[in-house]
Symmetry: C2
Subunit: 481 residues, 2 copies
């Protein structure tokens, strides 16, 4: 295997096989949007995709795009939102260490970006789906997707739903990508599939001037006069990179991403002088719901303590469990709450008393009993002084039998993907360890560290891909002339 | 400022100002040991130090070196230890994602490394200091420095003290460095101080063949025929790098390190194709003790819950508080436990009842009361079912008044330094993002990610510096011929 990190020098290039202004590596959401804008900017554009068609990991997703500040869909559904509220939520939810420049710009431009997506052919139905969490099962277009309506955000930042789902029943990532691929295909961009990009080519000034791709076993030297845009996903499917940079998620059973999410583009860029940031960060989703009513139960750690409000975004719960509770968590329910959840998770233990459940779970004697007793006393009054779960889900757990569903990382489905990657400006320019631009090199989507530096809300990866993919396309088209 | 990440090419070098076989960047513990072994390996060696003398951040430290497996000091003090017990402890304490190859080798070679240090002129008094934690106040040579004798390690891994302090009263880092600097000065190595290294020089094959240094305002081109060894500390003194790679520790008041810990060597290496790993990791020490008896109190989080055994290593407590409890922690004591600690931390609140204290701290009503009640009931029986604090420190907190000492990151002294850095082999060879060696480039000490990938024990940084500094020196001397 060619070492992707080892850049090649133009001096080794006798002749170019292909020439273009802008080369886009990867044809997921970021690559499609980059190509659309690069061509709109007057650049001869070549898209190179290793699979046999467009879509990438975006096509595997639920299709939610995080948009707000007062989009047509939000307004039609009767929600008020402002760029400032969106900015404040993202700053609070995407840390520690959120990328303020990206968040500020995205919050300010989100309504215009929504309109651009619609104009590009992505339809959204102006209807609100009232169960927060996953994408709506039908084709409703709006949902709470980041815990905006729950503690610790709701009381200090005006909440609004910002998960926008393209008009398609069920998971809409495939549909979204049909729309975006079609939009890219309407441009003059040339699209080469079954093409694997391996190595960047730099000139004597260390400017990126092209890349080496492999088509049908043959090496193709591609000149990119204005720039290369890397839109090739993250590294969750590369076990060596996961162990090296983000070892905690190696414990998760389900790695969310196409096989192309092997970090190759990230390594290619590092070979050309780029730095990576926040490589330890990852989204960790646990599909505890639907049904949402299961969250009338309580989540406890190995000490029998509650540690989070159960009604927050399940991605926050997954991150909290994996990164801060050693991946060990149980959902405790009583007979009044229990039903089988969507993921088919079964109780590990069912007992007539909480004390018996505590013994079965080998928790410190009395700890779980006190947790349940404390919760029940306050829930009966519609209060949760410990973690501020919303009153609508507060109900005393006092109907035996009691059951504990093991939501630990070695038992439950923890779906993860990486959030770390190349350090980029808001225009997708790739930065080196000193914060200087690597000339000729751009990136967007999960190849970069983006809006969600560490914390997460559903829809932020497609927001990163589509919005900052667009900006990278425009910047590359304007670059290098 | 020259961009350190931008490597220069040999083609730009008209003539070398200085030539050597091995260039060592930095004259702390890692640099001194690398120079000693490089000269022993027959290499003409040049040490370049930006300060006016040797010492570096090692000289600011307490001087503990983590050594074990049955050293002469351990045996003289009556402690049994084995390489296997040391290996098991380090694998358990240094994760998540510990570097198994480095830990295995260091556990196996630690006795020999102790003997080497003694032969190099570092004396250790074979006497045990029974208070775990900080370095002994006198010149005792052995102390528990990583929580080996406490939960969660003591019951599953045979404990032994492994903090070895050079024979010097109080903090011994300066003394250790006097010994190691003297040892290096006894070798034929040339030592240039007041010399700042800025940029690596690579040849057409991307092999590192030298560097650019600045002496008295003049640029000096240094050829290193066999290799360059980077031993220039971490990046805790570079605010931009801290925000970019390890934003959580930006909240800590005290950054432990000389001003040279600005990450320049790390950035220089990245410019030559190196990768960095675990850049989010940091040690966070809170000097709650001495006196150790304060740990008869309990540490509680913002929910009024205990979350750790108070008798563990204070570095573990600091990491747990900052990384997992949002940096908010209080030490609760009663009149029977309280005295002023070494750091002079004063109670934020003193109240006649725990309930009043709970109100003063704005904790959930009843939560702290229950925590104290549960703790007291079990402490009276010599038990701590929740966090397994040792029986010797268990004592019911029932003598009013009660006091809460605010140990939160914005109030208490959190002393931090970075643990992430260059990815290296056990021989100090610097690796690129594909795990391939960057030819001609070596590194050791806090410029690298080492034995302590994420968790920590006192003495591990000087272990990394001295042992892997030695190995890098030997490897570089043998390299490139």
């Amino acid at each position: 295997m060619t070492r992707p990190a080892a850049v090649r020098d133009t001096r080794s290039v006798a002749a170019w096989d292909l020439e273009t202004d802008v080369a886009v590596v990867g044809f997921g959401a970021a690559g499609a949007c980059a190509a659309i804008e690069a061509t709109a900017g007057g650049a001869d554009t070549l898209v190179l995709e290793r699979a046999s068609g467009g879509g990438g990991t975006s096509a595997l997703s639920g299709g939610l795009v995080y948009l707000g500040g007062g989009t047509a869909v939000q307004r039609a559904c009767g929600f008020e939102d402002t760029p400032d509220a969106m900015y404040r939520f993202l700053m609070a939810a995407c840390g520690p260490g959120p990328d303020e420049a990206k968040i500020r710009l995205y919050a300010d431009e989100s309504v215009a970006h929504f309109d651009w997506l619609v104009a590009a052919g992505v339809p959204f139905r102006p209807s609100y789906y009232p169960e927060p969490g996953l994408e709506p099962p039908g084709d409703d277009g709006l949902v709470y997707s980041g815990g905006e309506d729950a503690h610790p955000f709701a009381r200090v930042i005006p909440p609004a739903p910002r998960g926008h789902k393209p008009r398609h029943a069920g998971a809409a990532g495939g549909f979204l990508m049909q729309c975006l691929v079609a939009a890219a295909e309407r441009t003059p961009a040339r699209i080469d599939v079954d093409t694997r990009c391996e190595t960047l080519i730099v000139d004597d000034t260390r400017r990126v001037v092209g890349l080496i791709a492999r088509q049908g076993g043959a090496e193709r030297l591609v000149r990119a006069r204005r720039g290369v845009i890397l839109c090739a996903g993250g590294f969750v499917q590369n076990p060596a990179m996961v162990l090296r940079y983000c070892p905690v998620i190696a414990r998760c059973k389900y790695k969310l991403g196409q096989e192309g999410d092997d970090g190759r583009a990230i390594r290619m860029a590092m070979g050309a002088g780029a730095t990576v940031v926040r490589m330890e960060a990852a989204e960790v989703a646990i599909p505890l719901t639907p049904p949402r009513r299961l969250m009338r139960g309580i989540l406890v750690n190995r000490h029998g303590q509650r540690f989070i409000n159960e009604d927050t975004y399940f991605g926050r719960i997954g991150q909290e469990s994996l990164f801060h509770q050693d991946g060990r968590m149980w959902l405790l329910v009583d007979d009044g709450v229990y039903e089988r959840n969507m993921a088919g998770m079964e109780p590990a233990h069912v007992e007539e008393t909480v004390a018996d459940l505590e013994r079965a779970l080998a928790m410190p004697p009395g700890a779980l009993e006190w947790t349940v007793d404390y919760y029940n006393r306050h829930a009966a009054r519609g209060e949760d002084p410990l973690h501020h779960k919303g009153a609508g889900l507060l109900q005393a757990l006092d109907r035996p039998p009691y059951a504990a569903i093991d939501c630990s990382v070695d038992r439950a489905l923890y779906a993860t993907f990486t959030l770390g990657g190349l350090h980029t400006t808001v225009d997708g320019e790739v930065l080196d360890p000193d914060g200087e631009v690597v000339p000729g090199l751009y990136a967007a989507g999960r190849t970069t560290s983006g809006l969600a530096a560490a914390g997460y809300a559903s829809g932020l990866s497609l927001a990163d891909a589509t919005y900052f993919g667009r900006r990278a396309g425009r910047a590359a088209a304007a670059g290098g002339r």
